[in-house]
């Protein structure tokens, strides 16, 4: 019934009452479903990207929380997140196998980096959802969308801050560790709900199509039915790439990133292949030529504080002891091949020589003890670390004085540094000044 021609007379009211509901005003731009024209979009593509992303994110999440556990947040002032949920990390971080942290943290960084291209394309595949109107047709849908916002925000935040932290460019005004940690908790909560809601859709897409769309080249590619699939285009353009072409490019990106970074951690022999990694560079081939986490200059270590007057204080016994470097060298020396494995995802194996930590504990009068190790470093969250009982007691845990048969260089912690198997790199305190043992 055209406007302005409503019948007059007694029937008018009831006529109007029977009129069907007015259509919504036409939507424009991205709010119009016809705006989204890519013929690739649809549940199957999103499901395939999701099923590639899921294992990477699960691996990244598990290894991330393991990394938090590896810092033994229950001990001393090890916890830098300020959380009371450190009670969740009820177990002591083990010392075997020695490569444990190197592998878990290497996988954390690699899986996070490898997820980046897949996440970007997956978000592209569902972007029409952002413009669906009404935004919240029901309370259920509204809550769901709120949760999706936290999912996208935390995912991009985690990948961005993680990558920037690895790259030593910290333009953000907050401390990295607690921000990354709590964003991860937001992410886990949102991802769990997302999986509960979407896994049935993913399963349905695969039950229906299997991997058939992978067999379709650009000439034969089918477009998803927009009546059944809310991600499919209502107004598809001619394809300029096939779905398998897009997926191959994404896979190449993901694998390429792994290939260009694996040399810094899982395959240290291939370090020089890490062409775009901040830790891909070689320092040379001398005994002290290996990756420095933080130079003495950056840590503010005065060279004179490490000279002949340097003493190691052993506290926690009946009375404090002071040992000079020659006292330490006079004790039984032990050599171990152990990695420094950094939270930033790089690893370097070296031959360390020094005194066993448990010998120092015995000297202080303790058989089973934790130890707080403090550095000459004056400032910084990691100028001290508390080691658990098992780490002190492990026969391979050393207060290293020499490396690869030479004296430690100042950048590697001269006069003495801690090296403990499977311990996060930054807890292997350099320039050790004092060790405080506590019986447990």
């Amino acid at each position: 019934m055209a406007r302005g021609t409503a019948p007059r007379g007694p029937l008018a009211e009831s006529e109007r009452a029977r009129r069907p509901p007015q259509p919504m005003p036409p939507r424009r731009g991205p709010f119009d479903r016809d705006f989204w024209r890519s013929p690739l979009r649809g549940r199957w593509l999103t499901s395939l990207l999701g099923s590639a992303l899921l294992p990477l994110l699960v691996l990244c999440g598990i290894t991330g929380f393991l990394s938090h556990a590896a810092y033994d947040p229950n001990l001393g002032s090890n916890d830098v997140t300020g959380g009371f949920d450190s009670g969740l990390y009820f177990f002591d971080w083990p010392t075997s196998p020695v490569w444990l942290y190197s592998v878990t943290q290497g996988l954390h960084v690699l899986s996070g980096l490898a997820a980046i291209p897949i996440l970007l394309v997956k978000l592209w595949s569902v972007i029409p959802r952002l413009y669906e109107r009404p935004a919240a047709p029901s309370l259920a849908k509204g809550l769901e969308r709120l949760s999706v916002a936290t999912l996208v925000g935390s995912a991009v935040f985690l990948l961005a801050t993680g990558t920037l932290n690895v790259l030593y460019w910290l333009p953000f005004p907050f401390p990295f560790v607690p921000a990354h940690y709590y964003a991860a908790i937001i992410f886990v909560a949102a991802l769990t709900l997302h999986l509960a809601l979407k896994l049935p859709l993913l399963a349905a897409a695969f039950r229906r199509e299997g991997l058939r769309p992978l067999g379709e080249g650009i000439e034969m590619m089918r477009v998803a039915d927009p009546d059944e699939d809310s991600l499919a285009p209502t107004n598809p353009a001619a394809p300029t790439i096939s779905r398998r072409g897009l997926l191959a490019a994404v896979g190449a990106g993901s694998l390429g990133i792994v290939a260009l970074n694996v040399g810094t951690n899982l395959l240290p022999a291939l370090r020089e292949t890490a062409l775009l990694s901040p830790r891909g560079q070689s320092y040379g081939d001398g005994p002290n030529d290996f990756q420095v986490n933080k130079t003495a200059a950056a840590a503010g270590i005065e060279p004179q504080a490490t000279g002949a007057e340097w003493r190691l204080e052993l506290v926690g016994g009946e009375r404090p002891l002071e040992l000079s470097r020659s006292d330490l060298l006079a004790m039984e020396q032990r050599t171990e091949r152990l990695p420094i494995a950094c939270v930033e995802g790089w690893t370097t194996y070296q031959d360390w020589t020094g005194v066993q930590l448990r010998e120092l504990a015995r000297l202080a009068g303790h058989e089973r003890a934790e130890v707080l190790v403090e550095s000459l470093q004056e400032a910084g969250a990691f100028r001290q670390a508390t080691l658990n009982r098992g780490q002190v007691d492990d026969e391979r845990s050393l207060l290293a004085l020499r490396v690869n048969g030479a004296e430690l260089s100042l950048d590697h912690g001269f006069p003495a540094r801690v090296i403990v198997p499977a311990l996060p790199g930054v807890h292997n305190t350099k320039w050790v000044r004092r060790m405080t043992f506590t019986a447990v």
Partner: protein, 230 residues
């Protein structure tokens, strides 16, 4: 949880079990828009979110963290994605207009845009090194310099284009056109010509991209020169 009945279309009471409890459930589905389990799961998830927010509020620089969390959505959904979509569209139209036949146009297009995308992806995960954004901090921390990264990125980019070009050359020679393109017919009448605003916008984006390319090229030249001075 999978089945979510539409609001305003309550599911008819199932079978003969139109008990009072059943109708209350239907009422809930109608008002809420999904099963009760959906509400339970959503509230649980948002409660954990609220916990993390409370923890973040106790951290130093709370505002910065929240700003970055929200900024992540804006930066991706409202800036990065529209920007690269526009660039892709310009590239697609450019290739379609200038190269004949279509098969050749698509091969050309993809042999350029895929290595470009991969190169930009690598830049995304290394740009502070490549552009030496905080060289002093890096040098002080690691005791190393940042000189190699721009050259490395350019070399990898060159390799990507070389491989891509090789593949395109082989495919252009090898495959004769097999079957005609099948695309689903649009359900709407053909679209009118793009508006002048859109065309002007596309040109502006193209110009911006060209400027960006010039800037990258200048940086590349500078980086090469500082790595290998003449």
């Amino acid at each position: 949880m999978g089945a979510k009945p539409q609001r305003r279309q309550p599911r008819p009471p199932g079978g003969g079990a139109s008990t009072e409890a059943g109708s209350r459930l239907d009422r809930f589905r109608y008002e809420y828009g999904a099963e009760p389990l959906h509400l339970l799961a959503t509230v649980a998830s948002l409660a954990v979110f609220a916990y993390a927010l409370l923890r973040i509020i106790e951290l130093p620089a709370t505002a910065g963290i929240l700003l970055w969390l929200a900024g992540a959505i804006v930066a991706h959904d409202l800036i990065a994605l529209p920007l690269y979509s526009a660039l892709l569209r310009v590239a697609e139209e450019g290739a379609g207009l200038t190269v004949e036949p279509r098969r050749r146009a698509l091969l050309t297009l993809n042999s350029v845009r895929i290595p470009t995308a991969l190169s930009l992806l690598l830049l995304l995960i290394s740009f502070p090194l490549v552009f030496k954004l905080d060289a002093r901090a890096y040098e002080l921390t690691t005791g190393l310099g940042l000189d190699r990264y721009l050259g490395n990125w350019l070399l990898i980019t060159a390799a990507l284009f070389a491989v891509s070009g090789l593949i395109a050359a082989v495919r252009l020679r090898g495959g004769r056109s097999r079957r005609p393109m099948l695309t689903r017919k649009s359900r709407r009448p053909p679209q009118p010509e793009p508006s002048r605003i859109l065309t002007a916008l596309a040109r502006a984006v193209l110009a911006a991209a060209a400027l960006l390319a010039l800037w990258v090229a200048a940086l590349a030249a500078y980086g090469l020169y500082s790595s290998f001075p003449l």
